[in-house]
């Protein structure tokens, strides 16, 4: 998912939007984990259906989800081809020197189902809260501070970085440079990227000055914005129960 767009639909209203971000992240992560562990294809299908239902409930448009899922889909497709062709087992189809086994298809289908469901669930989990609140929630559930700060600053400055990148290349274009695939063009790209890095580095120094001058001493502190209600726990119980049930099937049989 493109970071700048991650919370594009966080302003909508849905049962997922109103869910406390901390509880939401913990619950849906549990569900993702349980789906990733599934081994029965039919249950994995059920997992996919659940994921789709949650996306639907979150009101995030499917078109948006699909656009951002295209890399996952591409990856899954590649995996599908490789695994079906390489895993040995009962022959399903034989095309000249390719042979596709039943086990190969089963395994690749299982992996695809898990991967797509997990990726889908990221949308109701992270796309229904303003990203800064997600960060605060992560902080509350004790994700290490350096990681959070990294994410926070990336999120804050990625827009500027993209703007700057555009400016640098427009500047080069306006002086008659066109991107080609030859060595000299590559060299120019190299130096433009280098310039971007130097600018970014200088900016980090400026930002550090601004932080220190307002009392920064290694920890970024913010005020708490979370309140828990019974509803948050009801939703959590529901999702976690589903996560357990999906795996219960396996234990029973």
């Amino acid at each position: 998912m493109h970071l700048p767009e991650i919370d594009k639909f966080a302003h909508l209203k849905s049962p997922l939007h109103s869910w406390d971000a901390r509880v939401k992240i913990v619950s849906i992560s549990t569900l993702i984990l349980s789906i990733v562990l599934l081994e029965d294809i039919r249950v994995a299908f059920l997992g996919l259906v659940l994921a789709i239902i949650l996306v639907f409930l979150s009101k995030i448009p499917f078109s948006f989800v699909l656009v951002h899922l295209r890399w996952v889909l591409f990856f899954v497709l590649a995996l599908f081809v490789v695994i079906s062709l390489t895993v040995p087992g009962n022959l399903l189809i034989k095309l000249s020197f390719f042979s596709i086994s039943r086990e190969g298809v089963r395994l690749s289908l299982l992996i695809s189902l898990r991967a797509i469901s997990a990726a889908l669930l990221v949308f109701p989990m992270l796309g229904t809260t303003r990203f800064y609140l997600t960060l605060k929630a992560l902080q509350k559930i004790k994700i290490p501070a350096p990681l959070i700060q990294l994410l926070m600053f990336t999120y804050r400055y990625i827009f500027l970085f993209l703007d700057e990148e555009k400016r640098v290349f427009i500047g080069a274009n306006s002086r008659g440079w066109v991107r080609k695939t030859n060595l000299s063009s590559l060299k120019t790209i190299g130096s433009l990227v280098g310039m971007l890095l130097v600018h970014s580095f200088e900016r980090t120094e400026r930002i550090r000055d601004a932080m220190v001058s307002r009392g920064y001493n290694g920890r970024v502190k913010t005020l708490d914005e979370f309140t828990l209600s019974a509803k948050d726990f009801i939703k959590a119980s529901l999702i976690i129960a589903i996560a357990l049930l999906l795996n219960l099937f396996r234990w029973i049989r």
Binding site: F131, Y132, L135, M152, F153, Y155, R156, F159, L160, R203, R206, I207, D209, A210, M211, V212, S213, R214, G215, Y216, N217, V220, K221, T222, L223, D224
Partner: protein, 251 residues
């Protein structure tokens, strides 16, 4: 309106023989002596690279201890006083995108007060007051990257006003602002009852806000005095790469 009777006014900033060399060997400050009185507004002018920003950074101990002495409100700028000094001395940096580094306006304006150790209730109160003071009440939940430059500038100011500083330092406060936004900012600054130091090339602004100016060039103070007097000294100004502001030129 010029109040310069040093006998009755308290020295709020004292700089004695300050020298600073950047790690790469650039000698940016070469023996600065400076006294600033409580309630004064001082303009800091000089060509690019004169050392204005470097001097300002020293006033709340960002660049580490150089050679020489700096005292703020009677406290030496050194490790053990830094927390206190950084609360008293506020710097608004030139580029608001560097000043506003948090994801939301609220978090940015709250950053200083939280670090100062205020209670949650007090933090919320100070944020509210500061945003109101700069005319940006209701912007708490907004993300800085979606704001206009003028809005960012005002919120930058709020991020330090929320710490209730006694000294307000502004580095090139009006660069890139359109005339209306600039006018707004000047009025805002004029209404703030603090000791102010304004660095930059907007001499008309300095003429409006500051009673005294200090002219810096190549890391040294080359002139200081009453604003009108220094700014209208054509040969002095031009010698140091500056111009007499339009409003002071004789036709």
């Amino acid at each position: 309106m010029i109040k310069l009777n040093g006998y009755e006014m308290k020295k709020i900033i004292r700089v004695k023989n300050l020298e600073y060399i950047y790690p790469d060997g650039t000698s940016a400050l070469k023996g600065i002596d400076l006294d600033i009185l409580k309630g004064e507004s001082i303009g800091l002018i000089g060509p690019n690279g004169a050392g204005k920003s470097t001097l300002l950074l020293h006033l709340n101990g960002i660049l580490g201890e150089g050679c020489g002495l700096i005292e703020i409100l009677g406290m030496k700028v050194e490790e053990k006083n830094l927390i206190k000094i950084r609360q008293k001395v506020a710097i608004v940096f030139q580029e608001p995108d560097n000043q506003l580094f948090m994801p939301t306006v609220f978090d940015d304006v709250a950053f200083g007060p939280i670090n100062t150790g205020y209670s949650e209730e007090k933090v919320r109160k100070k944020v509210k007051e500061a945003l109101k003071e700069v005319g940006m009440a209701g912007y708490e939940k907004r993300c800085s990257h979606h704001l206009s430059l003028g809005e960012k500038k005002r919120i930058s100011l709020a991020t330090v006003l929320s710490m209730q500083p006694e000294i307000l330092i502004l580095d090139e406060p009006t660069s890139n602002l359109d005339p209306r936004v600039r006018r707004h900012l000047i009025e805002l600054l004029n209404n703030l009852n603090l000791t102010k130091i304004v660095a930059g090339h907007d001499l008309e602004l300095i003429l409006e806000i500051c009673q005294r100016v200090i002219l810096l060039d190549e890391g040294k103070i080359v002139a200081k005095g009453e604003t009108r007097e220094v700014l209208s000294n054509k040969s002095l100004m031009e010698y140091h790469g500056l111009e007499v502001p339009l409003s002071l030129r004789h036709r």
